[in-house]
C-alpha cells in the first residue's frame, strides 16, 4: 500500500467512526424519547391532572405531585434567580478584575458542576436537622442552590456583551452607576438573563437527588411548605421502583410529562438566546 492510499484509508476510517459516534449519540436520544412516548402517552388523561396519587391498586393521578413540583420549582427559582442575577451583576460590573471576583467566578463554576446529592445533604444539615423535620422550604432552598450558579454564569456573560460605550453614554448624561446598571445594562441584557433563568428552571424541574433528603414526599394534597412536600421526581422514583403495575404506569406518565416540559423550556431558552444575540 502506498503512503497516499494509506493516508486516505486512515482518513476515511477516522471520519466514518466520527460520524458513527454522532449517530451513536443521537440514537440514545431517539431511543429514550421513543420509550417515554410509547410507555407514557397512554396514561396521560384528565385524571392525571385532577386526582392525587393513589394507594396501590386504586385509581388516581399525579395532581398533588405536579402542583407540588411547580410550587417547589417556582419558589426555588424565585430565591435562586434574583440571588444569581445580583451575584452575576457583581462579577460583570464591579468585580471584573478584582480578586474577589476571580475567586467567586472560579467557585461558581465548581458549584455549577457539584453533585446535586451533595447539595441535598448540605441543606439537610443546614435546615432539616435544625428544624427537626423535612419540609417544602428545605427542598426549595436546595433547588435554589442549583439554580443560582447557572444564573450567575449566564448573567455575567450576557451583561458583558453590553458594550461599554452604552454605559459611558449613560454616565456622561449624569446617571449614577447603579442607575446605569439597572436601567441600561439590565434592559439590554434582559433576554440573555431570562435565558439563564429558564435554563436554571429546566435544570431543577427534574432534579430528584436533592429532594430526597429535603422535601421528601407527600402522598396527599398539600400546599403547606413547612411540611414534607409532594413532588413529581420523588413520586416517579417511588412508583417506578414499586412492584405495582398501576403505580408504574403513573411513573411513566410523570416521566413523559417532566421530560416534555424540560425539553420545551430548553428549546424556548435557545430561541430566546438566538434572538438576544442578533
Amino acid at each position: 500500500m502506498t503512503l497516499y492510499s494509506r493516508r486516505r484509508v486512515v482518513n476515511h476510517v477516522g471520519l466514518t467512526l466520527s460520524i458513527l459516534a454522532t449517530l451513536f449519540g443521537l440514537f440514545w436520544l431517539v431511543w429514550l424519547l421513543w420509550t417515554l412516548f410509547s410507555n407514557g402517552l397512554r396514561w396521560i388523561g384528565p385524571r392525571l391532572f385532577l386526582e392525587s396519587t393513589p394507594p396501590p391498586g386504586a385509581n388516581g393521578g399525579l395532581a398533588n405531585a405536579i402542583v407540588g413540583s411547580v410550587i417547589l420549582t417556582v419558589v426555588g427559582v424565585g430565591i435562586g434567580a434574583p440571588a444569581g442575577i445580583l451575584a452575576g451583576t457583581y462579577l460583570a460590573e464591579f468585580g471584573r478584575s478584582s480578586r474577589l471576583g476571580a475567586v467567586v467566578r472560579f467557585v461558581n463554576d465548581i458549584l455549577l458542576s457539584a453533585p446535586s446529592i451533595i447539595i441535598g445533604v448540605f441543606v439537610y444539615g443546614l435546615i432539616v436537622l435544625r428544624v427537626g423535620h423535612f419540609s417544602g422550604w428545605a427542598g426549595a432552598v436546595a433547588l435554589a442552590l442549583i439554580v443560582m450558579p447557572v444564573v450567575v454564569r449566564t448573567t455575567e456573560n450576557m451583561m458583558r456583551l453590553v458594550p461599554d460605550s452604552l454605559r459611558e453614554a449613560a454616565a456622561a448624561l449624569g446617571a449614577p452607576s447603579w442607575k446605569v446598571t439597572v436601567v441600561i445594562v439590565y434592559r439590554s441584557a434582559l433576554p440573555g438573563i431570562l435565558t439563564g433563568v429558564l435554563l436554571g428552571m429546566a435544570r431543577v424541574s427534574g432534579e430528584t437527588a436533592p429532594l430526597l433528603f429535603t422535601a421528601l414526599n407527600n402522598q396527599f394534597w398539600s400546599t403547606d411548605m413547612s411540611r414534607p412536600f409532594p413532588n413529581l421526581p420523588a413520586v416517579i422514583f417511588q412508583f417506578a421502583m414499586s412492584p405495582y403495575e398501576d403505580w408504574q404506569h403513573l411513573a411513566w406518565a410523570g416521566a413523559l410529562l417532566i421530560t416534555v416540559t424540560i425539553l420545551g423550556i430548553n428549546i424556548a431558552a435557545r430561541a430566546l438566546i438566538k434572538r438576544a444575540k442578533t
Binding site: 454522532t22 453533585p115 451533595i118 446617571a175
Partner: protein, 335 residues
Amino acid sequence: MSSAAATPVREGAPPGSPEDTGVGVQSGAVGDRVFRGVTRFFAAVVLLSVFGMLVTLLVGSLPALKAFGFGFLASKEWNPVTEQFGALAPLFGTVVTSVIALLVGVPVSFGIALVITELAPTWLKRPVGVAIELLAAIPSIIYGMWGLFVFAPVFASTLQPWLTDHLGAWPVVGMLVEGPPMGIGMLTAGLILSIMTIPFMAAVMRDVFETVPASLRESAYALGCTTWEVVWRVILPFTRVGVFGGVMLGLGRALGETMAVTFVIGNAHDIHASLFMPGNTISSTLANEFTEATTPLYTSSLLALGLVLFVLTLIVLIAARLLLMKMKAREGVRT
C-alpha cells in the same frame, strides 16, 4: 461591610463610570454604595454555600472519622447492625463506573465534536449540536427508569452473553465479563453514565476546537493534509489542554451522578472483579440509605461518604477549571 464600602477600594470599575469622573457623587453615592454592597453580598453567598457544604460534611462526618480513622477508606465492611462502616466498596464502584463512562464517552464525544466543527455542512451543525445538548437536559431519573426497564433487559439478552462468549476465555478481560447476564450492574451503570457525560464533554471539545485559528487549519489543508490529519496533528495538539479540561468536567459529572446509577447498579455493598455484578457508588448509597439511617454513627458514616465524594469531585473540577483557564489564557496571548 460599610467600612469596606467607604474605603476607596477600587474593584476594576468599568471605565467611564461615575467614580472615574469624580462628578455625580452627590446624586447617586448612596444608591451606588447600597447597590454595590448588595451585589457583593450575593457574590459572597456563592462562596459561602460551597464553604458551607464542606463544613457541614466535615462536622457531620467527625464521629465516623473518629471511630474508624483512615481505616474508613480501606475497609469494605458496611454493616448497620454491628455499626462497622467502610467506604471502600462504594468508592470502588464510583471510580469503576466513572472510568467505564470515560472509556466509552471520550472517543464518542471527540467524534461528535469533530463532526460538528469539521465535517457537518453549516445547516446541519446547529441541529446536531442542539440534539446532543438536549441529551444533557433529560433528567437523571429518566435515564434511570429507561436504563432499568428498557436498556437492562435488552443488554442482558444481547450484549452481555455476547461479551461472555467472546471475551470470557481471555486471561484478564475474562474475569471482567464473568457471571450471570442480569442486565443491571457496574457495566450498565458505567454505560449509562457515558451517555450522560457525552453532551458535556462534546460541548467543551466543540468550543475549544472552534478556537483554532482558521489560518492554521487552512495552512495544513494547503500542505495537503487530509481532514483526519488536520484534526489529529494540528487541532488536537493545539487544543490538548482544553480537551483534557472537558474530559475532567465529564469525570466530575460521572462521579456525582446519582439517580440513574441508583436505578441500575443493583445496590450491593460488594467488590467484584466482574463488571456484570451489582455494586454501589457513593451517591447511590446516600440516595438509598440516608433517610433510613437509624443511629448517629450510621448517619455520620454516610456523611463521611459524602465528604469523600465532595473532595473527590472538588479535586477533579478544580483541575478541569484550571486547565480550561490555561487554555483561555493562551487564546488571549495569541490574538
